[in-house]
Symmetry: C2
Subunit: 337 residues, 2 copies
């Protein structure tokens, strides 16, 4: 298997991307192809020891930045590392594509170049959500589709379940629909309809869930539109860091015996690492015809390494094919409404 990575996307490219690639390569046998400015990437690679036959550079002269309008950029920057990388994935030059670049452009490139899996109306971003002391849930959609129809939410549930089972090894993952209350007739019309569709599906649907229960790990796959998903992900990030910062200040005000302060500081670090996105790898774009993973824009080498390692089963375990096979069941449910 070959892994393709966008060498130029993200705040810390190419230095942290290259370092992460070298670190990951040391742990696996797969080839990794870095797409981007040959000279810059070569200069970074020169800093490390690695097997020349394992890490290769595919030159791309252009870059899509976060300021670029996604659709326009994908259409016009044909020689950008992102477009070239996705084209390489499409043509069979690799089985997994990873980028820390412009999220909208990654989605657009996935849609225009790879195309949607037939029968999937809206691809979605699936982000891992850290459950303190208990692993992760999967949040689908975490930002691709601000407004959704009931069938989109059904698709998110099905695709998220498949990913959770095939990649994160959770058997019969439970699925919850984020709503304002747990009663089945709660919330906006679109959620009532989605509840009905999900109840008929073969996913392990547990019903409506409230936002307060998300951090407790109430279910494996958290289904919501991309706006709500974005709010859940960003609020969690903001609040967790804020609490930890405040605690650190409270605990380092000089009143604690030194040993106690040190011990505490290590406990806080443990907790911080549980919230650290770089430990969890990236977020797959589910519903396009290929294994595409987006990383956080500020990914460091550790995040890059983990995204590569955790992305491998996504490509190897036939997730895309399994989603394709599930589409028939979804269509039956939607049409029967």
């Amino acid at each position: 298997m070959r892994i393709i990575i966008d060498g130029m996307g993200g705040d810390n490219a190419p230095s942290e991307i290259v370092k992460g690639v070298v670190d990951a390569a040391a742990l696996i046998d797969h080839e990794i192809h870095i797409v981007g400015d040959e000279k810059k990437i070569e200069a970074e690679l020169a800093k490390y020891k690695y097997k020349k036959e394992q890490i290769k550079i595919v030159h791309a002269s252009d870059v899509i930045t976060n300021d670029d309008a996604p659709v326009k950029a994908v259409r016009t920057k044909q020689d950008s590392s992102l477009v070239k990388g996705i084209n390489l994935l499409k043509s069979g030059g690799g089985e997994l594509f990873i980028s820390a670049g412009n999220t909208g452009a990654i989605m657009a490139a996935g849609l225009f170049i790879l195309g949607r899996i037939q029968g999937i109306d809206r691809p979605a971003i699936a982000s891992t959500y850290p459950i303190l002391g208990k692993g992760v849930s999967l949040l689908v959609d975490s930002g691709a589709n601000a407004e959704c129809k009931p069938n989109n939410l059904l698709e998110f549930a099905a695709m998220g379940s498949i990913y959770m089972e095939k990649v994160l090894n959770v058997k019969k993952p439970t699925v919850g629909l984020v709503n304002m209350g747990t009663e089945e007739n709660k919330g906006p019309t679109v959620l009532k309809a989605a509840h009905e569709l999900l109840s008929k599906s073969s996913t392990n649907f547990v019903g409506n869930i409230e936002a307060r229960d998300v951090p407790k790990g109430i279910c494996d796959v958290i289904v919501c539109d991309g706006f709500i998903g974005n709010v859940i992900l960003k609020l969690t990030e903001g609040l967790a860091w804020n609490i930890l910062k405040l605690l650190k200040n409270k605990f380092t005000d000089g009143m604690l015996p030194k040993m106690g302060a040190l011990l505490l500081s290590s406990k806080l670090k443990e907790l911080k690492s549980e919230f650290d996105y770089s430990e969890y790898g990236g977020a797959p774009i589910l519903g396009v015809k290929g294994a595409v993973v987006k990383m956080h824009g500020s990914s460091n080498a550790n995040a890059v390494k983990n995204t590569i390692l955790k992305g491998i089963p996504y490509a190897e375990n036939n997730v895309v094919q399994t989603i394709q096979n599930s589409v028939l069941e979804l269509e039956e449910i939607i049409i029967s409404e």
Copy 2:
């Protein structure tokens, strides 16, 4: 001024309601009328010392529970403590009404009995959102309207600003619109239109805000639809308690010197109290013709006491009248679109 309180609403009624009333009464000169089952409330009052002329009981034979369908309950349970209390407010028997009962029924009673302020399309629940170490923001709407039109969001901003200024003493409160990014053309159509309306308003609008910045206190009034508001409020509650619980476990594993553990435990309690809704008082229903405050269903005596104390300026500082006076400007903005 007279304060009317629903003696029967909430998980801890009437005992904690009565205790909170007695505690608040000792600090103020206003009369407090408790509406509910006379015998039960009398039995609770008998446990305390208080001025007989300050606390009075208004008998109501019925109760609206959380299992009641709100609209039906308000229509049919005419002698419930909630309906009787709101009727008393309407007829001038008091200037402030407080209840820890069924939120939907409080909204329905406000709408049907008091009525909307003319020109306000949708009343909203405004909840205080704790900003660690920095006071509070006001979240409008925090759950009354799952789906909103742009003009509703404009109304929430205007009403929230007036409440923040008149009741929480914040001069020229800043207003932010929750969106998926800070650029003005972000997000669903309804938010783009709301951004345009807000830009034309006399509120101190700072633009779109992201959920990650809400816990940092990025603005005084956080505007969003009731679904998003519900997610923000509940996720914050769930995550904060989860983090604190985990920290408590980490810090009480026996490895710390006893003095350190005690000190830590007190620091955690400080933080916990910052998240404790019972410190902040209740949530006003903005946009109905009267000062109505809803409390958390699980309110204890402390929450009741604080809600009474913090509710007084809501009734005394002409918030309802000021909202009424602002409607003309809002209508001009909406019509000019």
